[in-house]
């Protein structure tokens, strides 16, 4: 598929806020702007002081964290939805709606950042699968009807050469 858009089933998601000097921050690690798969959980350092855990193990992983100091967790499973855009034209699809540079050097696999896509504020994670370009888009779930429509419209251009 040149570019496919799929709305992922609700998967557990946790937001962890932690200052640099906390145990939780040390435990989560990662550089700001990057993501890493750890077992069944994708750990994303989406902001300098915020990590998002995605996947079946997210809640468990969050529960294990030592939240001493200035750290907190919020279950955002229901607050944010996830859409995955995959395919050789995944980046082209997003480039129709998002001002970010999807070039390999600027947003390599594992890059994570916040951006606006078609007017919806998203956290974007480059999460290639099997060597195929793929992006996870986390966004406020109330936009889902609108957002899916817009993404599918954008991807439509690339569906013929799938």
């Amino acid at each position: 598929m040149a570019s496919s858009v799929s709305h992922l089933d609700p998967m557990p998601k946790v937001s962890i806020r932690a200052a640099d000097d906390t145990v939780a921050a040390q435990a989560l690690g990662l550089a700001f702007g990057s993501a890493e798969q750890r077992d069944d959980t994708l750990v994303v350092r989406i902001r300098p002081d915020e990590w998002i855990l995605l996947g079946t193990g997210a809640l468990a992983l969050a529960a294990e964290l030592d939240l001493s100091g200035y750290a907190s967790t919020v279950d955002i499973t229901h607050a944010r939805h996830v859409i995955r855009v995959t395919g050789t034209h995944a980046a082209d699809t997003l480039a129709k709606l998002c001002s970010a540079d999807f070039d390999e050097a600027m947003t390599p696999n594992g890059a994570a950042w916040g951006n606006s896509i078609a007017g919806v504020t998203c956290d974007i994670v480059r999460d290639d699968h099997g060597g195929e370009r793929s992006y996870l888009l986390l966004f406020d779930g109330s936009f889902v009807a609108y957002f899916l429509g817009v993404l599918e419209d954008a991807a439509g251009e690339f569906s013929s050469d799938s």
């Binding site: 702007g33 300098p48 950042w113 916040g114 606006s116 504020t121």
Partner: protein, 94 residues
């Protein structure tokens, strides 16, 4: 579109950020005179030249920062996060 160098995220389209305008110190509300307070509220230098102002990286790192911008040429320099020192951040491309 102006490219605004967020101290955290790097250069971003201005539309990705929120503009908060001229930076100015807040007077002590318990002791200030009406004139002080209203100067803070309303009066502005509004220079045609370098201006220190505040931006919010609303779709990126969600941090407020200050930056100097030349209001005629659009040049930007020395972005600073609150509490950090000038020059301590990367992000200038100009």
């Amino acid at each position: 579109m102006l490219l605004v160098p967020c101290p955290n995220c790097g250069p971003r389209n201005a539309a990705d950020l929120s503009y908060n305008g001229e930076s100015h110190a807040r007077p002590d509300p318990t002791t200030c005179t009406p004139e002080d307070w209203r100067t803070y509220l309303y009066l502005r230098d509004n220079p045609s030249g370098w201006l220190r102002e505040s931006w919010y990286c609303s779709s990126g790192c969600r941090k407020h920062f200050t930056i100097e911008r030349h209001t005629l040429t659009g040049e930007l320099r020395t972005p600073i996060l609150p509490g950090s020192k000038p020059g301590a951040t990367k992000g200038e491309t100009k």
